[in-house]
């Protein structure tokens, strides 16, 4: 979105459900519980929702399935499927739809039961025809090859990758909502089962159930709700490929472009951001996105994350809920970057609440580093 839409919409409710294991529930059950939680947070109910922004890992028309399940007849829907980034992307379309009067209450929602249903990633997408014969393990092989190339070009080490997982766990340790809260050391990560060289199982996100939801309204009525509004100051997307074999430079993601445009719309820079919530499907993601979003130079991400520098008490708070590595990862994690960023700004983060947060960044990743979406959120003070 452009600077004209800066601060035109606000998040007035967030919610989640089914974190960890949601026994006996379908993905749509978890989606609906998340919707109810977010609407309750906003003091609204499903009758108020006239804009629905949703995709799921199952079905070809998940937004329609969700609307039907919820018993609503929305006048605006967006079911754009760009993988885990979709839900950050909906901040743009929801802001546009709200601003244009196409809807008055936007509900962004997601749910998954992949852990209790199968214990692995559930996906309706088919392996690409020119990659499938070689049996890459999706999505691990793709990220492993990006990590390998980063190590080759910049000397990034497995220890530095491991420190990303260790930092995520240190945040999760303080978050009662997180799925994995036990101690985790660099040695634990390095010594864990190798799944796709150079990544061990501890370099990979969790496989959990869970859902999340966000309620948005136009800024002019954002102060009429129980919780402090969190404004969307900027959001932008860039898509570079679908198949990992088509990625032009395995060490540079489209986050460089999405980030630059989101910062420009918001009128702030990386140095202004007080909390960073990144889609950390794998440890290499955090390093790539910190570089591409401008928190450090290209190639310096490994050193930037080393030795607790992004852990509690470090130089930059990154993935303050524990991220997809330790908090929750129900197939697509993107919505949780927005929820944690919003809660840090509102002051009701479930784990470590940072002090006086006015500006936070949420970054979604989709496919195999394919779709990058960056959002800058701000408090009332930033308008």
């Amino acid at each position: 979105m452009t600077a004209e839409l800066r601060g035109k919409s606000a998040i007035v409710g967030t919610g989640h459900a089914g974190f960890g294991e949601a026994h006996g529930l379908t993905a749509y059950d978890v989606m609906a519980q998340s919707a109810l939680a977010a609407l309750g947070d906003a003091g609204l109910n499903l009758f108020d929702v006239d804009g629905l922004f949703c995709t799921m890992m199952e079905d070809s028309m998940p937004a329609l399935m969700a609307a039907e399940y919820l018993g609503i007849q929305p006048r605006f829907i967006d079911g754009t499927m760009s993988g885990g980034s979709s839900f950050v992307n909906y901040l743009t379309s929801a802001t546009m739809a709200l601003d244009a009067g196409l809807c008055d209450v936007a509900l962004i929602v997601y749910g998954s039961n992949q852990r209790t249903a199968s214990g692995r990633l559930v996906t309706a997408s088919r392996p690409p025809a020119y990659e499938a014969p070689y049996n890459p393990r999706y999505p691990i092989s793709a990220y492993a090859m990006a990590a390998a190339r980063h190590m080759h070009e910049y000397g990034t080490t497995r220890e530095q990758l491991a420190d990303v997982a260790v930092a995520a766990r240190a945040w999760a340790h303080h978050n009662p909502e997180a799925f994995e809260r036990g101690p985790l050391t660099r040695e634990d990560v390095l010594g864990a089962r190798m799944v796709g060289d150079p990544l061990t199982v501890r370099d990979c996100c969790l496989v959990t159930d869970g859902g999340g939801a966000i309620v948005m309204v136009r800024a002019d009525r954002a102060r009429d709700f129980p919780k402090a509004p969190v404004y969307v100051l900027g959001s932008a997307a860039e898509s570079s490929h679908r198949q990992i074999s088509q990625m032009k430079d395995f060490t540079v993601t489209a986050a460089r472009d999405s980030g630059a445009r989101a910062f420009a719309a918001a009128g702030v820079t990386a140095a202004d951001i007080q909390a960073v919530e990144l889609y950390d499907a794998f440890t290499i993601n955090t390093i790539l996105f910190l570089e591409d979003l401008g928190f450090c130079a290209k190639g310096e991400g490994g050193a930037f994350v080393e030795g607790g520098r992004i852990a509690p008490g470090g130089i930059l708070p990154v993935n303050t809920n524990g991220g997809g590595l330790s908090c929750v990862h129900p197939g697509m994690y993107g919505i949780f970057t927005v929820i944690e960023a919003a809660r840090q700004i509102r002051g009701d983060a479930p784990g470590i609440q940072l002090k006086d947060i006015d500006l936070a960044l949420a970054h979604g990743n989709g496919g195999v580093l394919s779709s990058q979406v960056t959002a800058i959120l701000g408090s009332q003070n930033t308008l």
Partner: protein, 125 residues
């Protein structure tokens, strides 16, 4: 037109004869891969087919870890051919963990998942 062949059929048809054909744009003269009806570089629609040199280098690589009883570990990599295009494949003839970035490799046509496919082996010399 029962004899009409799309780009995917042309590529796969050549593989069944043991040949690797690569699509090349007649306008900007750049190769591309995977096969398609337009050039992704200049968007020209005049595509010709050229015999691949089969020479390339490993751009990046991983080992897919798999239990021995299910067949054991195997290589997955992305190779950049001398023509400038990249394709996913695997290097055979050496241990999967020995496949290294920048290693010179040579293509050959064999089978993967029961169909003809491009595989690679380390180049000699």
């Amino acid at each position: 037109m029962p004899d009409a062949k799309g780009p995917d059929q042309i590529f796969q048809g050549a593989l069944t004869k043991g040949e690797i054909l690569l699509p090349k744009c007649e306008d900007c003269e750049a190769y591309h891969f995977f096969p398609r009806v337009l050039c992704p570089h200049c968007h020209g629609a005049a595509i010709s087919w050229k015999q691949a040199t089969g020479k390339g280098r490993v751009h990046t690589t991983t080992v897919v870890r798999r239990k021995p009883e299910r067949g054991g570990d195997y290589n997955v990599c992305v190779v950049e051919l001398d023509e400038g295009v990249r394709m996913m494949s695997r290097v055979e003839g050496i241990a999967p963990g020995e496949v290294a970035i920048d290693m010179a490799v040579t293509a050959f046509v064999s089978e993967a998942e029961g169909a003809p496919a491009v595989l690679f082996k380390p180049s000699e010399g």
